[in-house]
Symmetry: C2
Subunit: 302 residues, 2 copies
Amino acid sequence: MKYFADCFTCYMNQIHRALRLLSPGIEERKVVDAQHTMMKFISQCDLDKTNNISFGTEVYRVVAETLGVRDPYKTLKIKFNQIALDLYPKLILIVKNSKNHIFTAIQMSIMGNAIDFGTSEDINIEKELNALSKQDLGGKVNIDNFIQSIKKAKKILVIGDNTGEIVFDRIMIEQILEEYPNKQIYYAVRRGPIINDSTLEDAKFVGMDKICPIVETSASPGLIVNKSTQKFIETFNQADLIISKGQGNFEAIVDENTSWTEVYFLLKAKCKVMETIFHVPIGTLLLVKKDVNLIERAAIEH
Amino acid sequence: MKYFADCFTCYMNQIHRALRLLSPGIEERKVVDAQHTMMKFISQCDLDKTNNISFGTEVYRVVAETLGVRDPYKTLKIKFNQIALDLYPKLILIVKNSKNHIFTAIQMSIMGNAIDFGTSEDINIEKELNALSKQDLGGKVNIDNFIQSIKKAKKILVIGDNTGEIVFDRIMIEQILEEYPNKQIYYAVRRGPIINDSTLEDAKFVGMDKICPIVETSASPGLIVNKSTQKFIETFNQADLIISKGQGNFEAIVDENTSWTEVYFLLKAKCKVMETIFHVPIGTLLLVKKDVNLIERAAIEH
């Protein structure tokens, strides 16, 4: 997906917010210099040949460079995974006590993209799940349609997003495998640190590698296919169902030719651009099936 | 004043907002290209040698260039002046019916910087004035201190800001001249179009040129002394009281050496940076006397 006018404002804001989060006492001038570096990068890019995933990658490269640390979110990522792991027994119980296990497990995975592990130490899962049940998922497909696609699929690729969230994805994958043990499921993480996204280390930390094979995408805030591992590219090309988590992967995959497969996006709308594309307020949880119209709609006003 | 991290975000937002305001159906790509041009400008600047007034000037140069119009706010400026002129008889009546004419006239001028002539066709002056009376003016000087400085001064320079607001400044200047006919008062406008700031044309439109001599500053959203007219520079150097209207002029003058004169800033805090400097919420009306501490405070965290 290309960028909207709000994206450039957002890159400046992201640098500011990330540096203040990761280094609360940082001098204003260092933040300004980081923004200046980002502007230099953008100003040298041909806007017709650059997408917002490249810009997003640069945002967090600049943040890491400014802080002089390769993986500035490392501590937070461990914390987010631990918070989610502590919730795991409770999450499983909710699924097993529900009328429709797979339905609830899918809700968990969608919800996992919405929970802010950074601002809440005391996440109330029942409340979150209750709120999710009451709200219409944006995107004009429902969870039952999605379950039908899961039933039909042989090889499923789940493209993960954040730490913490990965535990919620584990719940979904475990439930699919319990009900349909013959499905081949792969889980994709980033091949290197980028923001608070899950890497192989996180997949191992939360035990995802015990549930299904792990493949690695690019070290960017949404996948870049040709910068992903060969194993990922093979899996991506062979999967007959792709489950894409989060806004970053949505922005990346919406422009890819995936005509040979079904793609579902599970994400929270996190910015004004998503409001524009989906006509839903920021914060809406979305279950969206990729189709040509969606791409056309997402391409409007580029 | 130099810039804060919020300033870079703000420039991108200003371009976006201005283009949507002035050309509601503009294509997203034109907005993005305008932002890209702005980023190129910023990325080529040495941050140690550029201030935010230069950046603000470039923002509106880019907006004008994108729209292919030299003075894109022209229609709005006429409208704002006309709305304010229509209020003029009522404003005068309020001043004359008040206990302390000059006090109320100064309130009018401060209020003039706060009224958004763009969003309200039906401005309720009594309500605005009432709200102003109830709130503490930020800035630790009060209107009585300011009146004492007016009484002492011989040559007063009022540096104007927006159209519409200029009518409210006229009320203040007329009242000062009525009570102290021997004061020499000058009113400064921009020497060329920039945003909705007043120019000579606007000063004539609202009759300010009949009240006091008009001098012209730079065509920038805050004055740049060495780009102002010779007549302005002389007046600036000779004045023993400078009354600076609006945030743009504040940002410009706060770094200038004005040790030979008293400077009062009358402005509405319009962004987060003002919150940081003055420790007041956005929207607070400020009456601030320039002193060395103020400059130090404003220079914090550059």
